[in-house]
Point group: C2
Chain length 252, copies 2
């Protein structure tokens, strides 16, 4: 294989007629909205490896790629990582801006060099902020849900069944009134996407460590603090982000 010394040089031919409509989302807008929005777009270069934002950063811009690819990457505490999503000319980077969360728990990094148009986040928000309270609440919740999904993906990749079971128990507990769950190991296995036997073993270990009691479809968490220790970071990340996005009064 040869002849790829300058793989992106063909893009120079395209530069001449670069236009925002090379991004599918921008292209899908009506002429009216395009006329209102396009004057505020700024064409920017997207070199390989450029970080658009880090986990927790408040975003200033949304980016509409034309011929680059950007990865949404989750980086764990120990440094290992997993890609959550890929964005190209078909999408945009920065949904958190109009979702209302302002930041996310992932990093956005350019995976294939090229160009994009960026738009000051405030412009986009201005476009939305006329709208109702209900909408904004729903959007913020959606972002929390997205965070949970992203973390599930990471957890599936990197953590042991015991850690995932701990995370799962905590997530369920947070949505119940007491420390008692009605749930068979078989069903938990379906949820986690693992064998039932794997759950049996992990539950046995949690029991030996004095964290849970259980019997035929009933699970009682007896030491929640320790369960949180045994869980991976995923639980805490999701909880913190959910609390940030939806700072509602404490659970009753």
């Amino acid at each position: 294989m040869q002849g790829h010394s300058q793989p992106l040089q063909n893009s120079t031919a395209i530069v001449a007629n670069h236009t925002p409509t090379q991004n599918q989302l921008l292209n899908a807008l009506s002429a009216e909205v395009q006329q209102r929005l396009f004057p505020h777009l700024e064409r920017v270069e997207m070199p390989l490896g450029k970080v658009l934002y880090e986990s927790g950063d408040v975003m200033r811009y949304v980016y509409f790629p034309t011929d680059c690819i950007v990865s949404l990457l989750y980086v764990m505490e120990n440094g290992s990582s997993a890609e959550i999503s890929v964005v190209g000319f078909d999408g945009l980077i920065g949904v958190a801006l109009f979702m209302g969360g302002e930041s996310t728990t992932s990093r956005a990094i350019v995976q294939s060099a090229g160009f994009a148009y960026r738009l000051l986040g405030q412009r986009l928000k201005d476009e939305f902020n006329r709208h109702g309270e209900l909408l904004h609440l729903m959007l913020r919740y959606s972002q929390a849900l997205i965070t949970q999904m992203a973390q599930t993906a990471v957890c599936n990749r990197h953590h042991s069944i015991e850690q995932q079971l701990s995370r799962w128990l905590l997530l369920s507990l947070d949505r119940l009134k007491d420390n008692h769950l009605v749930m068979t190991q078989e069903l938990i296995a379906n949820m986690l996407g693992v064998r039932r036997e794997g759950v049996t073993e992990a539950a046995g270990r949690l029991h030996k460590q004095g964290v849970i009691d259980y019997s035929r479809g009933h699970i009682l968490v007896t030491n929640r603090a320790k369960l949180e220790q045994l869980s991976c970071e995923c639980y805490a990340v999701v909880k913190a982000e959910t609390d940030r996005l939806l700072p509602i009064q404490a659970r009753s």
Copy 2:
């Protein structure tokens, strides 16, 4: 462990003063919006195992749980599954309704029995539909992104490195102009959250099967059709859903 013969019986004590505000999202709304919305809410029982919607179903209602838990579950072609997300009194089921997609690729199933309030989807949409075209486009894109994340989670759980590499190559290819990627195996490994050696081995197998050529940071896909065969269902699912949600003209 005993004394759990009727685990949910304590909820009977709560039934007396059931109110929509037991759901955090509904509770977070202003009195004004609550007054407009609450008359349309209908309290419904959520028995264990009840399926609120299947993958692809058009949703009629959004559900606001008060004391039940609902799992968003992705079911694969071979029947195995993985939970994508959990929803309780902190959230709602049916974001696709206001996202604009009407349906999702996951199943919603009651994991812990209880109650919820439901709202006819059209009511919610009426509340949103006054708003702009840009908003709706952004929301639909967000749903496509959510689909991709959910599928990443499933893929991480169930599929081999070779399948995931195939999926990843296809996702990248769709966002480029030719069949040529500039990407080291090391970086791909970071993206997939696996060892670099694992990528080397999988890439070697793809090469032996005549699907790709590669050399030091360059990958050329020579047989895309076969690559799609070798990929897991995840690629096709994401592509189909993205095309459904954002039916924009074919890539140039």
